[in-house]
C-alpha cells in the first residue's frame, strides 16, 4: 500500500466551513421546512410547561399520583404537535444528509449538520417554555387553593430543582425530536410498510408526485 496514504493528512473540511454550514442550514430555512420547525417550537413550548412542573415536583418527591397523571395528560397536546412536526421535518433532514454524503461528508457530519436545526428549534421552544413558566409561575400558582396537591407540590420545589427540571426537560424533548425526525421516522415507515404495504406505497407515490411538482 502506498505510503502516501499511511500519513495523516488534513484534507477534511475546515472547522469554520462546518460552522458556516451548520448556521446556514439552521437559519436559512424557508417554506414548508420553516413552517415545520415553527410547529416543532410551538409544540415544545406547550409540552415544556406541564412537563417541567411534573419533573420538578417529581424530583421533590411531592407529587400525588393523580396530579402526576393530570400533568402527563396536559403534556400530551404539546408532545403530539412536536412529534408530528418532527415527523414532517424528517424527510428534509434525510434529504439534506444524503446530499451531504454525496459530496463527500463523513457519516457523522452528514448526520449532525441537518440535526442541528431540529435541536435548535426544540431548544428554542424549551427555552421559551421555561421562561414563560418562570414569569407566570407566581401568577398561576397564586390562583390555586392552598390545600391543592399541585400547590403543595410546587411550593416544595427548590430553585435548584426548577433549574434541574428545566435542563432535563430540554434534553428530553430534544432527544425525542431528534429520534422522531431520524431513526423513529425510519422505524415508523418500516412498520407502516409491514402492516399496510399498499397504503404505504400510495403515500410514497403521492409524496413523490408532490415533490416532482
Amino acid at each position: 500500500m502506498s505510503s502516501a496514504f499511511a500519513a495523516p493528512r488534513g484534507a477534511g473540511p475546515q472547522q469554520s466551513a462546518l460552522l458556516w454550514l451548520a448556521v446556514r442550514l439552521s437559519l436559512n430555512v424557508r417554506g414548508a421546512a420553516a413552517a415545520c420547525l415553527l410547529r416543532l417550537s410551538v409544540g415544545t413550548v406547550l409540552a415544556t410547561l406541564p412537563l417541567t412542573v411534573l419533573l420538578a415536583a417529581g424530583l421533590a418527591d411531592a407529587l400525588p399520583g393523580k396530579t402526576a397523571l393530570g400533568l402527563v395528560l396536559a403534556t400530551c397536546p404539546g408532545a403530539a404537535v412536536s412529534l408530528w412536526a418532527a415527523h414532517s421535518v424528517a424527510a428534509d433532514r434525510a434529504a439534506t444528509a444524503e446530499a451531504l454524503r454525496q459530496v463527500g461528508a463523513e457519516r457523522a457530519v452528514s448526520w449532525l449538520l441537518p440535526a442541528v436545526r431540529v435541536a435548535l428549534a426544540t431548544g428554542l421552544g424549551a427555552l421559551v417554555g421555561t421562561a414563560a413558566l418562570a414569569i407566570l409561575r407566581g401568577a398561576v400558582f397564586r390562583g390555586l387553593p392552598k390545600e391543592s396537591p399541585l400547590y403543595r407540590a410546587v411550593t416544595a420545589v427548590s430553585s435548584g430543582g426548577w433549574i434541574l427540571a428545566a435542563i432535563g426537560v430540554t434534553a428530553l424533548l430534544t432527544v425525542c425530536a431528534l429520534f422522531a425526525s431520524g431513526a423513529g421516522h425510519r422505524l415508523a415507515g418500516r412498520l407502516r410498510r409491514r402492516l399496510a404495504p399498499r397504503a404505504a406505497a400510495v403515500t410514497e407515490r403521492s409524496r413523490d408526485r408532490l415533490k416532482a411538482r
Binding site: 502506498s2 502516501a4 446556514r24 442550514l25 463523513e106
Partner: protein, 322 residues
C-alpha cells in the same frame, strides 16, 4: 468498439458481488486517461453495483480494482474516501441539493469537504457553473431551478474537484432527447478539454453512442476487455515520495501497434530514491514477454503537489498532460 487505453487510470477485473454473484459476476472495466466510456445495460444489470464497487461504497467479494496505479481494492474505508475525494467525481442517479444553500454554494460543497477554503471553493464553483452555462443561476436556490438546469449543476458539482475520473450514474434519465443531447455534448466537450476520464452508466443506446467506447453489461457481466500491457503509473505522485518507474528500459523494443511510436531510450533509474513500501504488483507489472513490452513512461505528477494538498485548479495535471 475501440479498445481501451493501454495505460488505464481505472482497471477493474473480475468483480463479483455478493459472494453468490447474483448482482455482479465477472465484471471488468478498464478506462484510459481522458477516455470517455459508456456502460450500457438494462435496469437491474448491475450498473449501479459496479459503480459502487469502483467508488468504494461497497466492497466486492472478489476481483481487483486498480485506480491510478494503486490497489484500490486493498484500501481501508478511510483511504477509499480520501482517494475518492481527490480523484473521483460522482454524479449519482438522484443528485441531492441542499435547499438552504444557493446553487454555487451547493456546487462548492465537494471542495469545502475536501478542505478548500469556503470563498475559494465558491469562486471555483461559479467558474464551473459558467462552463456548464449556468452562470445566471449562481445565486438562486437549487429548489427554484428547472430539472434540466439541476442536472447540469449536478455534472458541474461532479467536475468541480477536477477529478481524474468522473462517474455518472444515469444522470440524464428522464430528460427529453434534445436536452440529453445538449448536456451530453457539453459534458464530453468539457471532459475532453480537462483530460478527465468519464464513466457514464446509462441504459440509452443513442446516448451511449456518443462516447468513445461502449461497454455492454447484462446480468452483472461485462465482456472481457483486452488487458493493458503497460504498468499504470500514478499520475498524482506525492512530493515527498516520488514514484519511480520500476521497469528498466530494454535494448530491444518491438512495437506491435502503429499508434505506439518508439520513445527515445530512457536513462536507468537512480537507486538512491526512497523505496516505496511493498505494494502488490499490478497484473500488468508481472514479467511480460518481450513482444508485449511497452517502453516505460515518465512518472506524472500534478505539478509536484503532495497528495494531501488538493490541486483543484488542475494546473498541475494540465501541465503533466502536456
Amino acid at each position: 468498439m475501440s479498445l481501451p487505453s493501454d495505460n488505464p487510470v481505472l482497471d477493474a477485473r473480475a468483480l463479483r458481488y455478493p459472494a453468490d454473484g447474483s448482482v455482479l459476476q465477472q465484471a471488468n472495466l478498464a478506462v484510459g486517461e481522458g477516455e470517455t466510456v459508456a456502460v450500457l445495460g438494462p435496469a437491474r444489470a448491475g450498473k449501479t453495483a459496479l459503480l459502487h464497487c469502483l467508488t468504494g461504497r461497497i466492497t466486492p467479494s472478489s476481483g481487483s480494482i486498480w485506480a491510478n496505479g494503486k490497489a484500490f481494492h486493498l484500501f481501508s474505508a478511510d483511504q477509499k474516501r480520501s482517494f475518492q475525494r481527490r480523484n473521483y467525481g460522482l454524479v449519482p442517479q438522484r443528485t441531492g441539493f441542499v435547499p438552504e444553500l444557493s446553487l454555487d454554494q451547493n456546487v462548492a460543497l465537494p471542495l469545502i469537504f475536501a478542505g478548500v477554503a469556503r470563498e475559494e471553493a465558491v469562486r471555483r464553483a461559479r467558474t464551473w457553473l459558467e462552463r456548464f452555462e449556468l452562470g445566471e443561476h449562481v445565486g438562486r436556490r437549487a429548489g427554484s431551478l428547472p430539472e434540466e438546469s439541476l442536472r447540469r449543476a449536478a455534472l458541474a458539482r461532479g467536475m468541480v474537484t477536477d477529478p481524474l475520473v468522473l462517474f455518472a450514474d444515469e444522470p440524464l434519465a428522464g430528460l427529453d432527447s434534445a436536452d440529453v443531447a445538449a448536456i451530453a455534448r457539453m459534458l464530453l466537450s468539457i471532459a475532453r478539454s480537462h483530460g478527465t476520464s468519464v464513466v457514464f452508466f446509462t441504459r440509452e443506446q443513442d446516448l451511449a453512442g456518443r462516447f468513445q467506447r461502449r461497454v455492454d453489461m447484462t446480468q452483472g457481466r461485462t465482456p472481457n476487455q483486452p488487458v493493458p500491457t503497460a504498468p499504470a503509473t500514478a499520475r498524482r505522485a506525492p512530493k515527498s515520495t516520488p514514484i519511480v518507474p520500476t521497469v528498466v528500459a530494454r535494448p530491444s523494443v518491438i512495437v506491435t501497434s502503429p499508434a505506439e511510436q518508439p520513445m527515445p531510450p530512457t536513462q536507468p533509474t537512480q537507486p538512491a530514491q526512497p523505496a516505496q513500501p511493498a505494494q502488490p504488483a499490478h497484473p500488468a507489472q508481472q514479467p511480460q514477454p518481450a513482444t508485449l513490452f511497452s517502453p516505460p513512461r515518465e512518472p506524472r505528477s500534478r505539478g509536484g503537489l503532495p497528495l494531501g494538498a488538493p490541486d483543484y485548479l488542475g494546473a498541475g495535471r494540465a501541465e503533466a498532460n502536456r
